[in-house]
Amino acid sequence: MTMRQSFRLGCALLGAIGLTGAADAAEQITFVSQGGAYQQAQTVAILDPAARKLGITINQDSIPDAWPAIKTQVGSGKPIWDVVDTPTGNCLRGGEQGLIEKLDFSKIPNGAAMPEAYRSPYSVSYEFYSSVLSYSQKTFPKDAPNSWADFWDVKKFPGRRALRNHPFATLEAALMADGVPPDKLYPLDVDRAFKKLEEIKPHITVWWTSGAQSAQLLNDGEVDMEMAWNGRVSAVAKEGAKVAFTYNEGILQSTSLCILKGAPNLETAVKFLNEAVDPVHQANLPLHIDYGPGNPKAFETGVIKSERAAQLPSEPANAAKQALMSYAWWSSPAGEAAEKRWASFMQK
């Protein structure tokens, strides 16, 4: 091939790429979640069906913690992501800091139909998980601990304990152990919570940092009871370990969908957001993974059988036993101060 020929070929190729790029640009978005089995489940249950229905291309990316990337991308003035699935707190503080688009719910009817506690001006709930009290059935074949007060009762329930090395859900559990009802937690009485935590601190063997670690502790019998995420406990139980958990006084947490400020495909992103919380797509999610749908209407579609529904954190009867985490409180100045206090609590 001569120089000139290869040059022409190169130009033609570049042109072709440019053309297809232009054709796609009108109808595509970049969606970001946390990867792994969770993102695969979403792809089957929500992303692929939504893409087909809207006739758009959904490019996927994944990152364990989206927050620093959101800050950098929007800060650079040219974000590449459109829609992010991230813990609801990130959407809220991102909204306050001008990093996340304010949503126009008239264009998101599925979101508008959700209960107010399940959405914010910047986000809609996408899926639910719960921080629950889990225990070894070997240690507690009957009369298992069933509340945070039981977890704190080291005389009645002797055994090793683990809690998450993070204030989220842990402060809530401490307050429930101290007698605060699940629906009266916020604003959290932080002093009271830390005082109650001091009480249990000498009895905590491990303060875990990752979900995998919490699963290992329970699986290996390193602890007899711990706070863990429901999906992690049921995964360990599925592998044959004698472990169980209760939704009683669980702390219901969620990730939400939000759109980056100045997203390259804003309009398509809004359309996608509405489609992603469609009750039927949402009902498909728990068929693939142990997380509950973010839209409670999913339970009315008939897609989720009642036995399966009973296992899910956001099923209405289960949800009623739990505390719904207030991300608004945690991203308030009081919440941020409580988060900073955690580090010194751990060291003392």
Binding site: W67, P68, K71, R93, R160, N165, T205, V206, W207, W208, T209, Q213, Q216, D220, G221, E222, E339, K340, A343, S344, M346, Q347
Partner: protein
């Protein structure tokens, strides 16, 4: 001799320098791009966030939290260094005094764990040390203990696993130094009537001290920045400085707060190297010459 350009030996030297520079420049560029620039950017962020600020450093120097973590990190590093020296010295000594084939075997056993990931080794220690782990079950089987011992999820477990990971950094410089101690000196000592232990104490040990200093510096400095091991085996209570760095990113949502901690740690390391360089050449520590 004149220094004119026409001098052939000068020209030759000049050409050689040019060639050397050309050969080194890719490596220098990589170092500049991947180390110098990011570290500079890091340091800059710790003092600049919407204007100059010393807030991040004020926090590091006034809040108890940081002081406690720095103190714990130095304590752990010191413990790891001493234990690694006590374990590593005899190993290096043995490798130095046996025939070549054996010393290669010993050294490869020391270096072998290097090729296993730190993460895997941390989990291996977990399997050994935890309540239902191998050691506790064995001791209970022998009826030595009634209740399982708390061997992990604390400082103890962290130190044990860290020593394991850092031991090669102690043994290799020690061995390299010992190799260079002429055997004649030992024989001279013996011929003058000194017992083996006296020759060791008066001749061998002093001559091996540069290796001791080099190994201790490597182990201490590397331990200062340990992250995964204390995170997995420290039970959440063992908060070392590197963990504060990552936690500060989460807590303050800006890199500056974390950068300040990292910069202070970096300055500590540089100070240690400065002090050590007064005693031995840094080439010796870093290049293990």
């Amino acid at each position: 001799m004149t220094t004119s350009l026409s001098d052939p030996s000068q020209q030759h030297q000049r050409r050689e320098h040019g060639l050397m520079l050309a050969l080194v420049s890719p490596a220098l560029l990589v170092i500049l791009a991947l180390i110098v620039l990011p570290v500079g950017w890091l340091a800059w962020q710790s003092i600049y966030h919407d204007g100059f600020t010393l807030e991040n450093y004020r926090r590091v120097f006034t809040e108890d939290l940081y002081w406690r973590s720095f103190a714990l990190t130095f304590e752990i590093s010191l413990a790891v260094m001493v234990i690694a020296l006590l374990l590593g010295y005899p190993v290096a000594y043995l490798a130095n005094s046996v025939p070549k084939g054996w010393s290669i075997l010993i050294l490869s056993l020391v270096v072998l764990p290097f090729w296993t990931s730190v993460l895997v080794r941390a989990y291996a220690w977990l399997a050994l040390l935890q309540r239902t782990g191998v050691i506790n079950q064995f001791l209970r089987y022998l009826d030595v203990i009634g209740e399982p011992l708390a061997l992990v999820h604390n400082v103890f477990g962290t130190v044990v696993a860290t020593v394991h990971i850092l031991l090669p950094f102690m043994v290799l410089p020690l061995y390299a130094t010992m190799q260079k101690i002429p055997n004649d000196l030992m024989q001279a000592g013996a011929s003058l009537g000194a017992s083996p232990s006296l020759t060791f104490m008066r001749v061998f040990l002093p001559l091996s001290l540069p290796g001791v200093l080099a190994g201790c510096t490597m182990v201490f400095v590397l331990c200062l920045g340990f992250y995964i091991t204390p995170e997995l085996l420290g039970g959440g209570r063992t908060v070392m400085v590197s963990m504060l760095v990552s936690r500060n990113v989460e807590l303050y949502n800006q890199f500056g707060a974390a950068s300040a901690v990292a910069v202070v740690l970096l300055l500590c390391v540089l100070a240690i190297f400065f002090v050590v360089s007064r005693f031995i050449s840094l080439d010796r520590v870093l290049g293990q010459k």
